[in-house]
């Protein structure tokens, strides 16, 4: 492994040099269009991008997919769907250079997204729509908007680009309604996941959420937890913070809460086939988190006797994380390697560009450089392919849909 580092260090250097050359906007865009992964010195293998964000530009986009009543509501009232975004477009972390389309909502333009995120080496990209359905407190409005988004995704994304897969958007705040929506569209072969925001009104391991997970499992869908969530309750454990950066950074604490909830509530005992992916979390908190939870469980397990083995065992079996963002100290390769091993290795991680969000390329490249070739193949596509049970065919035959 150590001898590989020298070789990989060279690869990392080469990739960085290319980025330096591509400093201006035009060059960056061309670089992106060449393919985000750039497998210089690596085994050639088809890439799976497990985290690409498609976004709804405005409620108007969804009008063709809304019933007459809801169309009238949009036209005659102040209702225009969710009034917040998990990734406000102009936040410096929300949009990478060159990814802003004319309509001002990155990720909303399929042509631009395809050009920039689906390079020639990308076999499949999994769309993660973070539309804040949970910010709509009227449950029927939430359900209607979610359904419209999913119909829009089918018609204007999945049917148009066979390399795309997508996440079912649901009114997560009402697990029964969410289950109904999953049942409605869950058999469409383009959907591989159900999108759930991190900051729910109660932790998602709780009994109240069982209908949502049951439906996901029944339709063989991964449940993907992404940054965001607008339940109306304070966004941290200790009340409302002041600055956006606190919400942004604090998302990792909420992810920890959710992982803990799923593990100790026995969600994976109730649903042994359940698979959960966590996005936008950073994951260097995983080793300390796992050791703390395992330790406490040994002493407190009588309260949750259905957790029959160490919580981290369930975590490794059922939960996966993506590679962007990472939160690593880029200057210390040995440390990054150690963290990676402690996290659980390439089986735990799936390459995800997090397009169109800011790509933190130095972190991504530093991380990729410490992987062996086998680990690289896992991370760049193998793990996701297995986890999402993707067909070995490069393109889904849309005629079969």
């Amino acid at each position: 492994m150590r001898t590989n580092l020298a070789q990989l260090g060279l690869t990392w250097f080469v990739q960085n040099a290319k980025l330096d050359l591509a400093a201006d906007l035009g060059a960056t865009t061309r670089f992106l269009e060449r393919g985000v992964t750039d497998q210089v010195g690596r085994p050639k293998t088809a890439v799976v991008d497990a985290d690409v964000h498609n976004e709804v530009p405005t409620i108007r986009t969804l009008m063709p997919y809304l019933s007459d009543y809801w169309q009238e509501t949009v036209n005659s009232t102040a209702f225009d769907g969710a009034d917040v975004r998990a990734f406000p477009p102009r936040l410096p972390t929300s949009t990478r250079t060159g990814a802003m389309p004319p309509n001002g909502v990155p990720g909303s333009d399929i042509d631009l997204l395809t050009r920039q995120a689906l390079g020639p080496d990308v076999e499949v990209a999994i769309l993660n729509c973070t539309y804040a359905v949970d910010a709509i407190h009227n449950p029927y409005a939430a359900a209607a908007v979610a359904a419209a988004i999913n119909d829009w995704q089918i018609a204007e994304w999945l049917e148009r680009e066979p390399r795309l897969r997508a996440s079912i958007v649901v009114p997560s705040q009402n697990p029964e309604l969410a289950a109904a929506e999953i049942a409605r569209v869950g058999e469409h072969p383009g959907f591989v996941q159900v999108a759930v925001p991190a900051r729910t009104a109660m932790p998602i391991g709780r009994l109240e959420f069982h209908p949502l997970f049951a439906a996901a499992v029944e339709h063989n869908l991964v449940v993907g937890v992404h940054a965001g969530g607008f339940s109306g309750y304070p966004t941290t454990a200790v009340g409302w913070p002041t600055y956006c950066i606190e919400d942004y950074a604090g998302m990792s604490t909420v992810m920890q809460t959710q992982v803990m909830s799923m593990l100790v509530e026995g969600l994976f005992v109730e649903f042994p086939k359940l698979r959960v992916a966590m996005f936008d979390t950073g994951c260097t908190w995983l080793p300390s988190f796992m050791s703390r939870l395992d330790k406490d469980w040994k002493g407190l397990r009588r309260e949750t006797p259905w957790v029959l083995k160490q919580p981290s065992d369930y975590l490794r079996e059922h939960i996966r994380f993506t590679t962007n963002p990472l939160d690593i100290p880029t200057q210390d390769m040995a440390l990054i390697r150690a963290l990676f091993d402690q996290m659980g290795g390439s089986e735990m991680l799936m390459h995800g560009t997090d397009y169109p969000h800011w790509e933190f390329k130095a972190q991504h490249d530093a991380f990729m450089s410490i992987l062996t070739d086998d680990e690289y193949v896992d991370v760049i596509g193998g793990t996701a392919r297995t986890f999402y049970q993707l067909s070995p065919q490069a393109a889904r035959n849309s005629a079969d849909a």
Binding site: K298, G299, R302
Partner: protein, 178 residues
């Protein structure tokens, strides 16, 4: 030649549901009576060395699914006062890693006074140097065990090298060799 078997005292000194911690050659060993069966464990948790035998005695607990409790109030689980790790009284196995982490256990026997007298003539037994009164006091106050336990009021234990063994009584023995 080391003598491995020690006489703790008369069996009725540890009533059902009660326990006593004894000092055997410098080691503290907890002796428990659960429904007439006697179990002995080292009073030292394999985790951080806590006084395991002062912990709570609990029932066996598992659950095949969330909310489906399977509970046997058999009080066969000993939970260490430090960090609450659980150990089976009989096998000493930890709950969370039965193959890897365990407390040291000792075999117990009951022998009648006459058997003991016969055996002692052949040097097979050594009487208990003494019991830890202070420890039993604390146990009494923490757990308020069944009324008949009342360990705090136990008479002073045997401090001499030898003591009288009555042929009518039964005695509890622990074997530190196994």
């Amino acid at each position: 030649m080391g003598v491995a078997k020690y006489v703790i005292g008369k069996v009725d000194e540890i009533p059902d549901g009660c326990r006593r911690i004894v000092n055997v050659g410098g080691r503290e060993i907890g002796v428990f009576n659960v429904s007439g069966n006697y179990y002995a464990l080292r009073n030292r948790c394999p985790h951080q060395g806590g006084p395991l035998c002062r912990g709570q005695q609990l029932g066996s607990l598992s659950a095949p699914k969330p909310g489906k409790y399977i509970f046997d109030p058999n009080r066969m689980t000993l939970r260490c006062p430090w960090h609450q790790w659980e150990f089976d009284l009989e096998t000493g196995q930890s709950w969370y890693d039965p193959g890897g982490v365990r407390a040291r256990t000792y075999k117990t026997e009951v022998a009648s006074g006459s058997e003991l007298l016969a055996a002692s003539h052949q040097g097979e037994f050594r009487p208990m140097p003494g019991l830890a009164d202070k420890v039993t006091d604390q146990l009494g106050s923490v757990f308020r065990p069944d009324e008949h336990c009342n360990l705090a009021k136990q008479p002073g234990p045997y401090v001499a090298e030898t003591y009288s063994v009555s042929v009518e009584d039964d005695y509890l023995i622990i074997d530190t060799g196994r």
